[in-house]
């Protein structure tokens, strides 16, 4: 089933997050890292955690994941806006309902993959744009499956 329209949030994950692989984390936020006074064990020490790693949240497999910059508005109702960065995992087998990067007219395009009852289409999520229909699967060259979108605000 195609997921419902999502509001363009600052950080929207369009797929359920896959299990986090062991990826070195350049950006981590550490909790409970205050100096421990000598003599008294810190009551917080048992609760120390590794922190949150946005890389691990967005990227399940580093070897097969690439980032793209989005140009255009055809996916805006899926929460993907002009200028956003999207994470694309080539290891995922594309299925109906996935947002994918495909090669159309020798260019990369990002669209929702529709594949039902013999109909194969790349569908935009903006009524101003038409769907692209394919006669067969071998006509459609999918580069990878989009697993997330990142946007930073100018502050």
């Amino acid at each position: 089933m195609i997921s419902s329209l999502l509001p363009p949030d600052a950080l929207t994950l369009l797929q359920e997050a896959a299990p986090a692989a062991a990826i070195p984390a350049p950006w981590t936020i550490r909790f409970f890292r205050q100096p421990i006074p000598a003599g008294f064990p810190s009551p917080a020490a048992d609760y120390a955690e590794e922190g949150l790693d946005l890389n691990a949240y967005l990227i399940a497999r580093k070897s097969s994941t690439f980032l793209f910059t989005v140009v255009g508005d055809s996916m805006k109702h899926a929460g993907i806006l002009d200028g956003d960065k999207v994470a694309v995992d080539r290891a995922i087998e594309p299925r109906h309902g996935h947002i994918v990067i495909a090669v159309v007219n020798q260019e990369y395009t990002i669209k929702r993959l529709y594949r039902r009852a013999g109909v194969i289409e790349l569908r935009p999520e903006n009524p101003a744009f038409p769907a692209i229909r394919f006669a067969g699967l071998d006509e459609l060259h999918i580069w990878g499956v989009v697993t997330g979108v990142v946007r930073r605000f100018a502050v």
């Binding site: 070897s63 097969s64 910059t69 989005v70 140009v71 090669v103 020798q106 990369y108 990002i110 935009p124």
Partner: protein
């Protein structure tokens, strides 16, 4: 387990640099593409379409202009940042298949396969799984050669690339002796790993023209003519494993940093800047591998392709009183050497430095007149950390200049698609 015979796979990316470019630019598919060396000099990678036009490895770009115009060859500057990142991805994927991986070059790795046979119906199935996984995850085509020795695995890889019947994976361990001999008889002896052009010519003079002929020559005969290294090669061709995997690369015995200039250089001042720059790069590599060096070589030369220009090519070795990894001392030594060999009146095309006589920094010996200053080590560490965090050459010695007019040209360099936020590939929505 120790009685299990060794089995090696050589996994090699096809036309690696060109393939990397094609992953991010669909317009390059099925077109003749070459990747050129620094300063857009010579072909360092060719697509199959370019190979079919007869363009050889190392052909200078200006020499293939007529062909390029006729067939629309697309030339790209080398984008080593991208290639290194893609290489890293491939090597990580290979480590999922075997615990034993030797990264042999940017686009080739040896894998130890013995012990994995129970996990796969055949080694060919394993090879196909590697091909499929690397292809799907990175977009890069690879071929796999499988054999009981590394030397044979290299040849198996060559067969996998050139013989369509193998579908990209050639396992020599399942071939019958007659079949194997047949294939090896069709390969020239120069295809053998470690047999260079000179040895190939000497072998041919002895009537040994094919790989099979070399394999059939008794090893002791080869040793008499060529020494023990070639004898070992013949044993490897006969299926006796003599070369094991080197999973940890030994520290390099010499470090070279050299470049062709983007524009011809005439003045000593500009040569000094370039030599200083290259030495700082080399010194960083030296510190990365934890070595010190006791001698540096500087070399400069003019452009041998410009046959009308006056030619000059020379180098000098400068010994150091004390082994060091201090950029300032190394640069000073290189500039001292440069002053000895520089002659005015020539158009210089290239300069470089080589660090010689490397030793681990931990065993360095103090000389009579100087001591190791702990503040130096600290300063160099800060330098390397700043440059690692903020990009190459953020901090450098003033002797390498500010304008760097001589710096390399990358007229056709593609974006660093995987390592720069502002150079990511673009997708149309």
């Amino acid at each position: 387990m120790e009685n299990t015979p060794r089995v090696f796979a050589l996994v090699d990316c096809n036309n690696f640099y060109v393939s990397c470019e094609r992953v991010f630019n669909p317009k390059l598919a099925d077109k003749p593409v070459v990747v050129l060396s620094n300063n857009d000099g010579c072909a360092v990678a060719r697509s199959n379409e370019v190979k079919a036009l007869g363009v050889k490895m190392g052909t200078p770009w200006f020499q293939m202009q007529p062909l390029a115009r006729q067939h629309g060859i697309i030339a790209l500057s080398s984008n080593y940042t991208l290639y290194a990142d893609m290489s890293q991805r491939v090597m990580t994927i290979l480590r999922d298949f075997s615990p034993e991986v030797e990264v042999y070059s940017i686009d080739e790795s040896f894998l130890g396969l013995q012990g994995l046979s129970r996990l796969w119906p055949t080694y060919t199935d394993l090879g196909q799984a590697i091909r499929h996984r690397v292809g799907q995850w990175t977009g890069l085509p690879v071929c796999v050669g499988i054999a009981p020795t590394k030397t044979l695995a290299k040849l198996a890889n060559h067969l996998a690339k050139t013989r369509p019947e193998f579908a990209g994976v050639c396992d020599l361990t399942v071939l019958k002796e007659g079949q194997l001999a047949g294939y090896l008889a069709c390969l020239e002896v120069g295809e053998v790993w470690g047999v260079g052009r000179r040895i190939a010519a000497r072998l041919q003079a002895l009537g040994i023209g094919s790989v099979q002929a070399l394999r059939a020559t008794p090893p002791h005969v080869i040793r008499e003519h060529f020494g023990v290294v070639m004898e070992r090669t013949v044993r490897e061709l006969r299926g006796i494993s003599c070369l094991d995997l080197e999973e940890v690369a030994p520290p390099k015995q010499q470090i070279i940093a050299s470049r062709s200039f983007g524009a011809p250089v005439i003045s000593q001042e500009e040569l000094r800047e370039a030599v200083s720059r290259y030495m700082q790069t080399a010194a960083e590599k030296l510190r990365q591998q934890g070595s010190v060096c006791s001698a540096v070589q500087v070399f400069i030369h003019t452009n041998p392709f410009k046959t009308h220009d006056r030619q000059y090519s020379t180098g000098v070795v400068v010994p150091l009183t004390q082994a060091t990894d201090d950029s300032r001392r190394l640069v000073a030594a290189a500039l001292w050497g440069l002053a000895r060999i520089y002659r005015p009146g020539y158009c210089y095309k290239k300069a470089g430095v080589m660090l010689l006589d490397l030793a681990p920094a931990s065993v360095r010996q103090a000389s009579l007149f100087s001591q190791v200053n702990p503040r130096t080590a600290h300063l160099m560490r800060v330098l390397d950390e700043l440059n690692a965090a903020h990009g190459r050459n953020t901090i450098h010695l003033a002797s390498s200049g500010i304008q760097q007019r001589w710096a390399a040209r990358f007229d056709h360099r593609t974006p660093r698609y995987t390592t720069r936020w502002d150079e990511l590939p673009r997708v149309h929505a």
